[in-house]
């Protein structure tokens, strides 16, 4: 059997994956089951999206209270403003007004926490947000 074209094919597939891949940049430290929604929209450009993860910590020793993870560490609501400023600064100037903040919160989170986060985002002028959700029936 002539297998001389196999490397070519494999390379083609390889390049496809290299181009489409976005490396998992952060490891989740909070447990979250996203709420379900039916009218969700996809977030188009990943480079414009900043994530805020909210939920109980994965590590049981840290308790079951709601925690927030920004980048790779736990943070307080008061840290959001700095975080957003940092993320904005690392962006292309033309892209800055298009920045979207994706709030990925566990479905059992109390709204008090979400509201505090929203108020902090308003103060930081990150006004485009997205409530991250799973595609569901409801």
């Amino acid at each position: 059997m002539n297998t001389s074209s196999m490397p070519d094919i494999v390379f083609a597939v390889l390049f496809f994956f290299i181009i489409t891949t976005t490396l998992r940049s952060e490891t989740l430290m909070v447990r979250m089951k996203l709420p379900t929604a039916s009218e969700i929209q996809k977030l188009e450009k990943k480079s414009l999206v900043t994530y805020i993860n909210i939920g109980p910590p994965l590590d049981a020793r840290l308790g079951t209270g709601t925690q927030m993870q920004l980048n790779d560490r736990f943070a307080q609501v008061t840290d959001i403003q700095n975080y957003i400023a940092q993320e904005k600064a690392s962006m292309n100037e033309a892209d800055q007004p298009l920045m979207t903040v994706s709030i990925k919160a566990d479905e059992n989170t109390r709204m008090q926490y979400i509201t505090d986060v929203k108020q902090a985002l308003r103060q930081a002028y990150a006004l485009k947000i997205s409530y991250s959700a799973r595609k569901g029936e409801n």
Partner: protein, 211 residues
């Protein structure tokens, strides 16, 4: 010495496939194909001073209050009346009362020109649509308690967005003869202007009942 006598030594490339397979496997493992999706919203800019915060004035008939309380019960209230849902699962069939999206749609459209529903104002939307009366001043205010569950809040947001999406789809069918998805960007803008999403997310209040 004639050139044709030289021969290029054959390179053993049989391991190339193995190497590229390894690379391929690596990228297969680390790539995350899942795209994040969610309900897009726009927050209002922060209030410049205390006065501005209370200066927004909305006529009572133009306002639909959606209240999600600490027990995750949902209350819809406009000047016409009040609809109550015991939990987020009842939003669609309603168990006796209208589904929430239909209440929202009726509120936004005000087909019967009722004085208890938002004021109809004639506006021009360009060629295929023309001048039609719309409730351009309506506001849907979503309020929640401090201990409301996030999933109930999202379910309510979802129903409101669903109502708007259905309205836009109906508008697209009526004026352009296709679904909203298939419209051009300009046509979509026209329809969006016809049915603008006017959702207000109010500051939280503690209505009690929570811990």
């Amino acid at each position: 010495m004639p050139k044709s006598d030289r021969k290029v030594p054959a390179l053993n490339a049989s391991s190339m496939a193995d190497v590229s397979f390894l690379l391929l496997c690596y990228f297969l493992m680390v790539s995350s194909m899942d795209v994040d999706s969610g309900l897009a919203r726009r927050l209002p800019p922060p209030p410049q001073n205390e006065q501005e915060q209370s200066s927004v004035d909305v006529q009572r008939r133009n306002l639909l209050v959606v209240l999600v309380n600490a027990q995750n019960e949902i209350l819809l209230q406009d000047q016409q009346g009040t609809v109550m849902y015991a939990n987020e699962n009842e939003l669609q069939d309603g168990s006796g009362n209208l589904a929430m999206k239909d209440v929202v749609k009726e509120f936004v459209l005000n087909t019967s020109n009722s004085p208890d529903l938002p004021q109809l104002i004639e506006e021009d939307f360009g060629p295929p649509i023309g001048t039609v009366p719309v409730t351009s001043n309506h506001v849907i205010s979503i309020q929640n308690d401090a201990t409301t569950r996030y999933s109930a809040y999202i379910a309510v947001q979802n129903e409101v967005v669903r109502a708007y999406n259905e309205l836009r789809n109906e508008g697209a069918r009526r004026y352009f003869g296709t679904s909203y998805e298939e419209l051009t960007i300009d046509q979509k803008e026209q329809i969006d202007k016809l049915y603008p999403q006017r959702i207000s997310e109010a500051e939280p209040k503690n209505y009690g009942g929570g811990e």
